[in-house]
């Protein structure tokens, strides 16, 4: 193997474990196990390697093996006053990247897709493949990392990623108010990390320097009775992805419980989002992509990111 591939023995051991023949899937924390369909029972389960390989706070990058728990990663990042875009729900780094769902405070931390700078994965042929690069800015070649985020391991089994990290804000505060137009609340402040609405109450997460937070809280107080609160509300189980304007009007679509991320478009609801229509032209490209990356259909059989 040339010096261009990783010299990390853990990745090559993982590749050897994956092999190149039988149906296979990676088991992470299992927190989103049903996403994208039911895994075919023929699939052999393997675990991705664990451990933080390299962390350089001054570069705002961390290299981490896919089997590492997100919580463990964040424990290390916080020591250098940093954090990442990955959601913390008991799962692994590889799982978070493969699923690609963003955090509630997406607008403060950025998206998972923007955070993945480099990905190393094991291909259907059992090779360790690298896409992207280990620095914060890179347009060298085709954007394989973007393709891997949210692909549910159907194009390659993620073994290691280089993530962009971000400094933690010096101050942070959740606020809540009843009977406030959530769109107006979002417009009243510059860059809220999250604005949530359940049809009656509005939650706002402000982050930044303390003085700015005080000023932003004052701005919010001019449109409603905001009080400090510990965190976001409990979320209903299903996740919808909608254009932000539709998410803000979600109450017209449902009589059930929901929490909408205003300005983002994610809605947590008590019913599942109807199957989204995919352009037939897109389906052709996506199916060709799957066939080219996984000709025998051995990677995560039964799963597809379409749903």
């Amino acid at each position: 193997m040339s010096s261009l591939t990783s010299s990390d023995e853990a990745l090559h051991a993982f590749a050897a474990d994956v092999g190149d023949t039988d149906p296979i899937a990676v088991e992470g924390g299992g927190t989103r196990w049903q996403t994208g369909g039911v895994l075919h029972e023929s699939a052999r389960l393997v675990s991705a390697p664990t451990g933080i390989v390299d962390y350089r706070p001054e570069e705002m990058v961390v290299t981490v093996r896919a089997g590492t728990r997100v919580a463990e990663l964040h424990t290390v990042l916080i020591e250098a006053n940093q954090r990442s875009a990955l959601p913390e729900r008991g799962g692994t780094v590889g799982g978070a990247v493969a699923v690609g769902e963003n955090r509630l405070d997406l607008q403060g931390r950025g998206s998972v897709r923007d955070a993945v700078l480099q990905v190393r994965y094991v291909s259907a042929e059992g090779d360790v493949v690298t896409g992207g690069g280990p620095v914060v800015k890179n347009v060298s070649g085709f954007n394989v990392p973007k393709l891997m985020v949210g692909s549910l391991g159907t194009l390659g089994l993620i073994a290691e990623v280089v993530l962009r990290t971000n400094p933690s804000p010096t101050a942070s505060q959740w606020l809540r108010a009843a009977d406030v137009d959530p769109v107006a609340a979002r417009a009243a402040v510059l860059g809220p990390s999250s604005v949530l609405w359940d049809g009656s109450s509005t939650w706002v997460l402000l982050e930044g320097h303390e003085q700015d937070l005080e000023d932003e809280i004052a701005a919010l107080s001019s449109i409603g009775e905001f009080v400090e609160t510990d965190g976001p509300p409990d979320l209903p189980p299903y996740r919808w992805s909608l254009p932000p304007a539709d998410a803000a009007a979600f109450h017209r679509e449902t009589s059930g419980d929901f929490v909408a991320a205003i300005g983002v478009g994610i809605v947590h609801a008590d019913t599942a989002q109807p199957r989204r229509e995919v352009d037939p032209g897109i389906t052709v490209v996506a199916e060709r992509m799957k066939t080219l990356f996984d000709p025998k259909g051995r990677l995560n059989p039964g799963r597809s990111p379409k749903t």
Binding site: Q82, V139, S140, G141, N143, S168, G208
Partner: protein, 489 residues
Amino acid sequence: MSILSRLRRPGAPVDPLVAALQEVLDPQRVRNDGAERSLTSHDASVFAGGVSGPICFPTTTAEVQAITRVAVEHGCAIVPRGAGTGLAGGAIPLGAPIVVSTGKMNRILQVDTENGVAWVQPGVINLDLSRHLRPKGFHFAPDPSSQQVCTLGGNVANNSGGPHCLAYGVTDAHVLAIEVVLPNGEIVMLGGLDPEPAGYDLRGAFVGSEGTLGIATRIAVRLTKNPPAVRTLLLSFAKTRDAAQTVSAIIAAGIVPAALEVMDQRMTIAVENYVAAGYPTDAAAVLLAEVEGLPAGVEIDAGRIGDIGRANNATGVRQAASDEERALLWKGRKTAFGAVAQVAPDYYLHDTVVPRAALADMLEKIYEICERHDIMVMNVFHAGDGNLHPLLVFDARVEGTLERVHAAGAEIVRASLDAGGVLSGEHGIGVEKQGFMGEMFSDVDLDHQNRLRQAFDPTCRSNPGKILPMGHSCADIQALRAVPTGVWG
């Protein structure tokens, strides 16, 4: 065939491809004379050897689709083209393809503040969009130095950056949906206005693909709120190394400025001679730092940046006192490449990225390499994200100079890879760095990139001969070999 085209060239044999294009497009918007084809045979790079076929100026998605179908019927390649400001040869037509100019697709279609997007045609100029949005309280964050002329379609193709991408991210973080005419003529919408569209992230794959996956015909770009407060600082240093270390120290301190730009002394002198922006010409390097956001945080961060600079031996720390002063400093920074024209007739602008901690050593290495090859180098770069832009200035009329420029450039690229960096931060691979792809990626890695390309374009119709090195499909087209050897460096 239309009446006009028959009238124009009575009796002359009409190229069947041109005739077919004139069937689907107003014949006036299909150009095939030598002078115009010569203009589209190159971009803003030093690379020669392009051969343009007929040039089409569509105005609608349907017309782009019709042109593509003609290309399919005639077994002809197709290359999209924006303003031609690319520096890696990405828009250079190889093998006389149909060139599709987006120049007449230049309308801002809709500003949708409820969904936080603007829909634009690909020929809209980057700065025109931000000028249109500013009074509404928004702007488009990526701001390449060429933003007065470069197009959003080109920005999408190159995943363009710019000084303010340090805090805001490059183009792919600001493009939500793209209507694309695929190389087979089909129209699809990649991505969507919702935050997590279903399926593979084909929009993410498309942005930065340098026109090899199809032609963008409508783009939904993210609106970024204008910041209420901005502070711009100018720090001077007696040693370039101190400027580089200040950059690392600022990031290590947990500050992410909107921009962190460095210019070395030669560059500063050229800029001052050109626009008199107020840069000190006696400093070895200057650092332009800008912080944006809410007023208190901006004040705090500006103060800390000044302190960090002084702790790293800054000889001067100045804060722009007015919007005019700030605008002038940025004018100086953004016209740096124009300023070089007074120094020498030609320049070759490189673009690599290294980890920030390697910046100081890398700069010394660049000076050493260029001195050894007897080439003058000036540096102006996006220091905050480690994105180097060594500018090799020369007179191409002097025999042997271009060869030395290419040799020095190749060493710079290799030194960047050795330092743990990458081939390009924002200019792309095009034809410029194809030959280096095998030094950053293994054959297996490149094979997987090729699979991505093949999924969109199995017949290698769209902008063939780019990005992937020879030996991979879509790079090995016989007709493309009409290129003079050696020009790719």
